[in-house]
């Protein structure tokens, strides 16, 4: 059994053409068992030297797989270097190293004498010398030459192309068709089901129309034409010369030839102004044409043209002037405001300096230089009453209290309180009673103004109280409650320029110990106890309760003529003789929020409307300019000022146009009085 095993193994070895020599002994022992051993040791006949080292390596390899006697396994043999044995056989007995006592000399002699020396190799596992047989040597040679170990192996056998591209009549295999090729595939069904579900859910869109537009990247889409690369587009061609026309011909048509007068005119013209730089001439033939005398000159000019022609197109910033104007609403959207002249109140024979409307808006009072005060019905321009006073009327003011019917009229150094007797009789009588019910106080105060009750003819006309001032009174204005009356007596350097009267107590106060500058006009604050005093260049705001200066507005103009307070009390407009209208926002600054220069000549009067966001200014140029002046409750928003209408109607007399403007208390109507002796109503 064991032998059979060996044989089988040796058969495997035989295929490789190698039979290790260390088996030789056992093989020899086993000769009796298997005489047909393919390998019989025979001395190598080849004279070829075998490289011993390579052979050794080879044998080591062989031993590793072929050793059957030494059972130590594949271990480095140096481990047994110091032992007398080299391993153990199958029975567990020691395999002793063969006795080696050959020295160099013996080696040499052996090499010289032993013809098989070249084919003797030492078995590492056993330490014995093995003489390689001829087949083995032959095998080694073949391997060294890179050939197959087997001699009979034909490496160039003819190839049979079974699976060729040629269509065969009969299949290669005669296998019947599978059953699965006849039944639908479950896997495929599952896949298709998944796709159908995806289509149903909209995850996949079958038959999506192909995008017909070509998808390409526009390289020049975002290119800046002004960049350096784009400069070549800005090519400026050299100016071309004008092509010669019929004038230049040597034989021009007769209409191109200049007549005698034209020639004279041409000669008298400046060379720069001439349309033609030469005189067209006619020659009989081309030969007769002389040399052109201006040739060099013209060449030079052409060179200059080329030299001085622009090389580059200058990019100019084109700003639309409309864009620079601030965006303002259209006047059409800001209606209502007065647009047309509706009524003319005629009757005065001289300039009308001052007008005032009754608080109900039914009557108008006007004071004129013809020493009369006239009362008008607003809606019909009917003069209801004419009251004569003793001088040119400088100012009229209707008491703003609707329960009192009183008009203050100032002329010369006098202020007269008139009861026009218009309106409800009860109010008129109540007013008269109020004045007559005054009782003289016990201690008589020394006042600079004398109060007197009108009697006799004056009382018949409506005069109720007469206030004699030390100086000429220019302006009268009421407090909103209708009890206090402020009068202005402009006098430079005087301490008595402004006085405030209290009608019910017939008392006069001089609120200022000292006035700085020439007082132009004064006004009460509509709500709070403030008092506005306009001098030539400043408007001072005084607190009447604390008796101190609150604010000083710098009007930025040379001479203030008039002033009006917004009914809200936070805005003031000032008209000045240097054609300006300054709008002050008291919360904003002491300098004008806006200055309007719409008038051509000095402003005489400004006015606010009590309800509508309107203000008007009258000027010496005979026009009234109505502006929309919207004041917002929101403190962050600045007032909106839009000029909406220029109203013309007054004729200019003695270089004076409009002298006073005032608004109707309830309607968007404006009254203006002019130097032409008329009062006009614009609606």
């Amino acid at each position: 059994m064991w032998c059979g095993n060996i044989r089988r193994r040796s058969a495997g070895c035989q295929q490789r053409g190698f039979w290790p020599s260390f088996l030789e002994a056992s093989v020899k022992n086993a000769h009796t068992i298997s005489s047909q051993s393919p390998i019989s040791p025979s001395p190598p006949q080849s004279e070829q030297e075998v490289d011993k080292i390579s052979l050794l390596v080879f044998i080591t390899f062989s031993v590793r797989s072929q050793d059957i006697r030494n059972t130590v396994g594949n271990i480095p043999m140096e481990w047994y270097k110091d032992y007398p044995h080299i391993g153990y056989d199958l029975d567990g007995k020691k395999i002793f190293k063969p006795i080696r006592n050959k020295d160099e000399l013996d080696e040499f002699l052996d090499k010289m004498e032993n013809p098989d020396y070249w084919r003797t190799v030492q078995d590492k596992m056993t330490g014995a010398d093995i003489r390689l047989s001829d087949e083995q040597v032959d095998l080694v040679h073949r391997l060294q030459q890179g050939k197959f170990g087997d001699v009979n192996f034909n490496e160039y056998e003819p190839a049979i192309d079974f699976f060729s591209n040629e269509v065969m009549i009969h299949p290669v295999t005669n296998r019947p068709q599978d059953k699965r090729s006849f039944i639908p595939s479950l896997i495929e069904k599952e896949k298709v089901g998944k796709l159908v579900h995806a289509i149903k859910m909209g995850w996949i869109k079958p038959r999506r129309p192909k995008e017909t537009t070509p998808q390409y990247y526009d390289l020049w889409a975002k290119e800046d034409p002004n960049s350096i690369l784009g400069r070549h587009k800005m090519h400026v061609p050299a100016p071309k010369m004008k092509l010669p026309g019929h004038q230049e011909s040597y034989n021009p048509p007769p209409e191109y030839l200049l007549s005698e007068e034209e020639r004279l005119a041409w000669e008298q013209q400046d060379p720069e102004d001439r349309k033609l730089s030469f005189l067209p001439q006619k020659f009989a033939c081309l030969r007769a044409v002389p040399a052109y005398s201006r040739f060099i000159h013209e060449r030079f000019e052409r060179c200059l043209d080329l030299y001085l022609c622009p090389r580059q197109r200058k990019m100019r910033v084109n700003v639309n002037p409309e864009d620079l104007i601030p965006k303002l609403p259209k006047p059409k959207d800001l209606q209502p405001f007065p647009t047309t002249q509706s009524l003319v109140y005629r009757g005065h024979s001289s300039l009308v300096r001052s007008i005032s409307v009754s608080p109900s808006g039914q009557w108008l009072v006007s004071g004129s230089d013809d020493c009369t005060v006239r009362f008008w019905e607003v809606s019909t321009a009917r003069c209801l009453k004419t009251v004569e006073v003793g001088g040119a009327v400088k100012g009229v003011a209707w008491n703003p209290n609707p329960s009192i019917c009183l008009v203050a009229v100032s002329y010369d150094d006098t202020v007269v309180l008139l009861n026009p007797g218009l309106g409800d009789r009860l109010v008129c009588t109540a007013t008269d009673q109020l004045i007559s019910s005054y009782e003289e106080p016990e201690e008589v105060m020394d006042q600079s103004v004398q109060w007197a009750v009108a009697e006799g003819e004056g009382h018949e006309q409506g005069h109720r109280l007469i206030l004699k001032h030390p100086k000429a009174v220019r302006q009268v204005t009421w407090h909103g409650k209708g009890d206090y009356l402020a009068c202005v007596m402009p006098d430079n350097g005087s301490s008595l320029q402004v006085v405030i009267h209290q009608v019910s107590k017939r008392r006069t106060q001089n609120p200022f110990r000292k006035n700085k500058g020439l007082v132009q006009c004064v006004s009460f604050h509509p709500i709070r106890p403030y008092f506005f005093v306009a001098t030539q260049r400043y408007v001072r705001v005084y607190n009447l309760i604390k008796q101190e200066l609150t604010k000083k507005l710098m009007a930025n103009c040379k001479w203030i003529s008039s002033m009006a307070i917004h009914p809200g009390g936070d805005n003031v407009i000032c008209g000045s003789y240097d054609c300006r209208l300054a709008w002050f926002d008291l919360d904003l600054s002491t300098k004008p929020y806006k200055v309007l220069r719409h008038h051509k000549k000095a402003l005489r009067s400004v006015a606010y409307h009590r309800h509508y966001p309107l203000f008007a200014s009258g000027s010496d140029d005979g026009s009234v300019i109505v502006c929309h002046g919207m004041v917002y409750n929101d403190l962050l928003q600045n007032p909106l000022i839009v000029p909406v209408k220029v109203l013309k109607g007054h004729t200019i007399t003695h270089d004076l146009g409009v002298l006073d403007v005032t608004f109707h208390p309830t309607q968007p109507w404006v009254f203006s009085s002019g130097a032409d002796g008329t009062v006009r109503l614009f609606t």
Binding site: S342, G361, R382, L384, G423, D424, T666
Partner: protein, 412 residues
């Protein structure tokens, strides 16, 4: 397009022609068409006299040639055009003028008499011939509006106080002095049943007063007003208002009775308000954009006409609930329209007076331009009125400031 198929018809039986379509030249104008109708009428009856006609195409007066009118109105020229013809109104001519000493603030005409109120604090009654019948003095202030209470018997004037007068042939007696307004009374109107009248005042109130002349009218004593009492003793009895309507924010400029239960007032607060006279409730408000000077109501066409402080005469439908609905704007004036008055017998005609010294006669069927301008005045027109005289003759009375006179325009 040279010929148009047209069928003529008329309401007037006197001028009926056969109802046949005619082919007429498209370029024909009013005079040509009038000639055609006259020819047809002559052919029909021999005794026909020439009459000038006016023509209406779909309710609009024909003023240009037929072709251009149809083009403007988008009327198809393929079909037969229905053309109505009416007798042409002749231009009113000034017939008479009555001199007044002062401005005339108001006028109201009767079939016999004309009542005027003046700024010289009197009201006057004139006969149709222009003779002064009576002068009513007694007002202490300007007479702003007058109204006839009952023909030939009562008249009523308004100034600061409203007075009620009993006028007999040659005697005028102050009936009542109606006190209560706190401002000047600008307008008075008597209701159709002649038992009440309404006054509108500058104090924003409307007040309704009784107009029934009761002899045993109790004099209302007001102990705290001794002066007034003296006055009332002079001028007759004092009356207190039956009802006061407040709602206007500004002065009431014009008031009228739409019918016995409904009252309409126009005000300076840019509104026209309709009131229920029984309950005093405000029924509806028509809002304009300008101050109203005058309103007039025509029971024939049930429209309100308003004159305001701009150039337009506006027509309103008082029954519309949604407020500002201007049916029509008649624009031709150059100044404030101070007076408008519907014709009492013609549903399409109204007359308007303006501060531009012109009185215009309008027909609502030709709203682009007035029928006639009556420009014989030299100063502002404050009031106009129509009078019915006889059967078909109307006289427009209007007043003017400058010459202080009344014109009568006979108008057939």
């Amino acid at each position: 397009m040279s010929q148009v198929q047209a069928r003529f018809f008329t309401e007037n039986k006197k001028y009926l022609i056969d109802d046949v379509p005619f082919s007429i030249p498209a370029a024909s104008e009013v005079a040509d068409l009038s000639g055609v109708i006259n020819k047809l009428l002559e052919a029909k009856n021999d005794g026909h006299k020439h009459v000038e006609f006016d023509f209406l195409v779909r309710g609009q007066f024909l003023r240009t040639s037929l072709a251009s009118h149809m083009e403007k109105e988008n009327i198809s020229t393929e079909e037969v055009v229905e053309i109505e013809y009416v007798e042409k109104f002749t231009a009113p001519q000034p017939e008479e003028c009555i001199m007044h000493d002062d401005w005339i603030s108001s006028v109201e005409a009767d079939s016999e008499w004309i009542l005027t109120g003046s700024y010289d604090k009197t009201a006057r009654i004139w006969s149709m011939e222009g003779k002064a019948v009576m002068t009513v003095a007694g007002h202490t202030d300007v007479v702003k509006d007058v109204a006839w209470m009952k023909r030939g018997e009562n008249l009523q004037t308004g100034s600061l106080v409203v007075n009620d007068w009993n006028s007999e042939r040659n005697k005028v007696e102050a009936r009542h002095c109606c006190r209560g307004h706190a401002g000047s009374v600008d307008t008075v109107a008597v209701d159709p049943t002649r038992t009440k009248f309404c006054s509108g005042s500058w104090d924003k109130m409307l007040k309704i007063w009784s107009a029934v002349p009761t002899v045993e009218e109790d004099e209302i004593e007001e102990p705290n007003r001794p002066r007034k009492k003296q006055k009332t003793e002079q001028m007759g009895l004092t009356r207190t208002p039956l009802m006061t309507f407040s709602g206007h924010n500004e002065a009431v400029s014009s008031v009228l009775w739409v019918d016995a239960e409904e009252l309409c007032s126009a005000s300076w607060d840019h509104t026209i308000r309709l009131w229920d006279a029984e309950t005093g409730e405000q029924k509806s408000t028509l809002t304009g954009s300008k101050v109203f000077n005058s309103i007039s109501y025509s029971p024939l066409c049930r429209r309100l006409a308003s004159g305001s402080t701009d150039r337009h005469v506006r027509l309103w439908d008082p029954r519309s609930k949604d407020g500002s609905l201007v049916l029509l704007s008649l624009t031709s004036h150059n100044g404030w329209v101070t007076a408008v008055r519907w014709s009492p017998s013609h549903e399409h005609q109204l007359v308007s007076g303006s501060l531009d010294n012109v009185v215009k006669l309008w027909d609502t069927r030709s709203c682009k331009a007035p029928l006639y301008d009556l420009a014989a005045h030299e100063d502002k027109v404050l009031c106009v009125d129509w009078t019915e005289n006889g059967k078909a003759i109307f006289v427009i009375i209007l007043t003017c400031l400058d010459l202080k006179l009344n014109y009568h325009y006979p108008y057939v």
